[in-house]
């Protein structure tokens, strides 16, 4: 009896899996999606890195050649990626200041004839493309702290580079002023040495170096994967049920297997297809896209803790099970895909709320709002996972959230199996909500 049940479920899983994996659309989608992703991420990144490699030719106009030289050194040194860490320590970690680094070379020409005629001449050189721009840094301008950059592009390279340029000038002016007050250059360097803030992540007694940007990127990518996969494969389950119902295969199957076996087989079979697809994508990403992405995004090492990965796998499966069983029930109730579209809000609404809650939860993972929303079964696949990834909550909270989720899934499975059992033999008109509730009582 038990064996028959397992065997039947297995046969349904096998059929569902093989039929789907063999379909042309599966192969096309599996190959096409990474191609689109690469296109969406890698090409713009590649393009912007190409632009940055061009050397920037600037002229610095100062009242004295000495100050011009200080500015030149600061700009040239500041544009080298590791100017500070090379001097201070061997640590390869990058601090905040470094990330604004334009990452390209500068050719600086110092010009100490600050006349209106020279300004006009330099303007002509910019216009003719001989230089990219010039900085008007006369003593008057420095005293007023009102420096002007002339260039074809404002700031030479957009928003980020503009702020970098300002920082370098602040520094050069400070060096100059302090030198005039008799402070040696070495002393100034010592005084100006910025604080490096290192975040350590404490996790089960071990500490790991945290990379906020990398983590945010990884967590966000995983939540999006969870969200899209749940909807995508959930809809596949719904379609499959609908197809069996409309093609009337269902009745033949029911003479051999129970509705529970059929539903379980369907959920697991489609889920396995999803996992296969994701595994293929991860493998492809690991071999090709990830190094490229990591390099171009220059977020540094993307560190994902093992606990985060385990939590992802767990919440992914539970989330899929929860939502796809509802999809199966919807598939059993509806008579056409259009009707299915209308009923999908039952599933999409909690998912959208979860995604909206991501910001607040990430910002304050311990706040009451975060704690309680991450307990709610329909939100927890996204939100509890997010909390675990950002800042592991107390074990009792994870346990409670999981218990509630698993309990809800069990309940939903039973209810949906009932709706499924009755719905799949109903043809014609779509039942109303009161009718469905009546089924739950009867079944």
């Amino acid at each position: 009896m038990r064996n028959t049940s397992l065997r039947n479920t297995w046969l349904v899983i096998k059929r569902e899996y093989l039929e789907r994996v063999r379909q042309r659309s599966f192969i096309v989608l599996t190959l096409l999606l990474p191609a689109i992703m690469i296109g969406a991420f890698a090409i713009p990144a590649k393009l912007s890195s190409m632009k940055n490699t061009k050397m920037q030719r600037l002229v610095v106009v100062t009242s004295t050649p000495q100050f011009g030289e200080i500015v030149r050194q600061q700009l040239v040194a500041g544009s080298k990626p590791d100017h500070e860490s090379a001097a201070a320590n061997k640590d390869k970690d990058k601090d905040a200041e470094d990330e604004d680094n334009p990452g390209r070379d500068y050719a600086i020409e110092v010009d100490s004839s600050a006349t209106e005629a020279e300004r006009t001449a330099l303007r002509d050189r910019v216009n003719s493309g001989d230089i990219d721009g010039f900085l008007w840094l006369t003593d008057d301008a420095v005293a007023a702290r009102k420096v002007t950059y002339y260039g074809r592009q404002s700031g030479g390279g957009g928003f980020m580079e503009n702020s970098w340029l300002k920082d370098q000038l602040d520094r050069a002016i400070l060096l100059q002023e302090l030198a005039q007050r008799g402070v040696s250059r070495a002393q100034v360097e010592q005084l100006l040495k910025p604080v490096k803030l290192e975040t350590m992540r404490l996790e089960g007694g071990r500490e790991t170096k945290a990379n906020d940007k990398g983590m945010f990127f990884a967590v966000f990518a995983m939540v999006m994967l969870l969200y899209t996969a749940v909807i995508f494969y959930g809809v596949s389950v719904m379609r499959a049920v609908l197809e069996e119902k409309n093609s009337r295969v269902m009745e033949v199957l029911l003479s051999s297997a129970t509705s529970t076996e059929l539903m379980a087989g369907k959920l697991i079979g489609v889920g396995a297809v999803g996992l296969t697809q994701i595994a293929i994508w991860i493998a492809m990403a690991a071999t090709y896209a990830l190094p490229a992405l990591a390099a171009s995004a220059s977020t540094g090492e993307i560190h994902i803790a093992p606990l985060t990965l385990a939590a992802f796998a767990l919440f992914f499966l539970l989330g899929y099970l929860l939502f796809s069983s509802i999809y199966a029930a919807i598939g059993a109730v509806i008579t056409s895909e259009q009707e299915g579209q209308q009923m999908q809000f039952i599933i999409i609404l909690p998912l959208i709320i979860s995604v909206f809650m991501m910001g607040p939860v990430m910002h304050a993972p311990d706040s009451p709002v975060a704690v309680w929303t991450s307990m709610v079964p329909f939100f927890s696949p996204v939100l509890m996972y997010l909390r675990i990834a950002v800042q592991p909550p107390p074990v009792w909270q994870i346990a409670l959230s999981l218990a509630l989720l698993v309990g809800t899934i069990a309940g939903i499975l039973v209810l949906c199996a009932r709706i499924y059992r009755i719905g799949i033999l109903m043809y014609g008109k779509r039942p109303t909500l009161p009718e469905i509730l009546k089924w739950l009582k009867y079944a």
């Binding site: 009896m1 028959t4 197809e243 295969v249 009745e251 033949v252 199957l253 003479s255 051999s256 297997a257």
Partner: protein
């Protein structure tokens, strides 16, 4: 040991009583017909019989035991609404159905191929179901129901919607199963089909069994109370209520139903005295008549 016994099964959908305290017995090796007009509760009865749905009350037993899961491997079911996976290849599909009935993958493949050969689907086993003609799909469906060599085959309206040549192939396969000692049950609303094929029948109407049992005995119970008369002349003798309950003029001949207790010989004499009688034949009642009469009685 009877193949199936239904004991006062009942099924309601909301207020509507689909099957109402229905009882019947199907003996091993017989061809059993479940008859009744559309909406009489035939499909509901079949579904309960094979465990797709549960009766609200009453009991179903199969092969002498209360119905349980293991029995489903010994029965085949051809539902009224035919259905196969459209995108699946014919052979894969039949193997899948066979495996669900407990066959090993190898047996299921072997038997599916044999059946396809017998029913002329041999060249189509690698095609998708949606590429098959309707008649071929029906054959594939039939194979799906019998591939595991079930002892008991249940078919819901097997002949509806079939073209004559497909119906003939199906009927032959049907009889082959019967000769192999299988028990067959089919439902139909066509009395003439049932009359030709069935050993026993159950007539249902509004979810209730109106008549149940051996077809020959049922007919005998109704006696030879029908007369077919060919005559020329006065039809006055047909109006005598002591002799004739009802008559139906078909043009070439008149079919007469004798009044209760009337002697056919009296009718013959009355006819002979009014008209010239060319033919006078006592007949068993047709199933249709039996049905109409039984339903009339039940409703009265």
């Amino acid at each position: 040991m009877n193949t199936v016994e239904l004991n006062k099964i009942r099924k309601c959908y909301d207020e509507f009583v689909a099957v109402d305290d229905l009882s019947l017995v199907i003996r091993p090796g017989e061809v059993y017909g479940l008859l009744g007009p559309n909406g009489a509760g035939k499909t509901s009865t079949l579904r309960m019989m094979i465990g797709i749905t549960m009766p609200d009350s009453g009991s179903v037993s199969m092969f002498g035991e209360p119905l349980r899961r293991a029995h489903t491997q010994r029965l085949g079911y051809l539902p009224e609404e035919r259905g196969l996976y459209k995108k699946m290849k014919v052979l894969d599909q039949l193997v899948f159905l066979g495996e669900l009935k407990g066959l090993s993958a190898r047996d299921a493949t072997e038997r599916s191929q044999q059946w396809c050969e017998r029913l002329g689907l041999k060249d189509w086993t690698g095609k998708k179901v949606e590429e098959l003609s309707k008649g071929m799909q029906q054959k594939a469906q039939f194979i799906g129901a019998v591939v595991h060599d079930p002892q008991f085959v249940v078919m819901d309206e097997p002949f509806s919607g079939l073209d004559p040549s497909s119906a003939l192939v199906l009927k032959d396969a049907f009889l082959e199963l019967k000769n192999a000692g299988k028990t067959l049950l089919f439902s139909t609303h066509r009395m003439d089909t049932a009359e030709r094929l069935c050993d026993s029948i159950c007539l249902i109407n509004h979810g209730r069994a109106v008549l149940e049992g051996d077809l020959g005995k049922i007919r005998a119970g109704y006696g030879k109370r029908n007369v077919q008369i060919k005559y020329e002349g006065d039809s006055q003798f047909l109006k005598d209520p002591k002799l004739v309950q009802s008559s139906n003029d078909y043009g070439n001949y008149v079919e007469v139903r004798l009044a209760a207790g009337a002697d056919p010989q009296d009718l013959l004499q009355a006819a002979a005295s009014h008209a010239r009688v060319n033919k006078f034949e006592l007949m068993e009642p047709s199933l249709e008549e039996i049905f109409i009469e039984a339903v009339g009685k039940a409703n009265a």
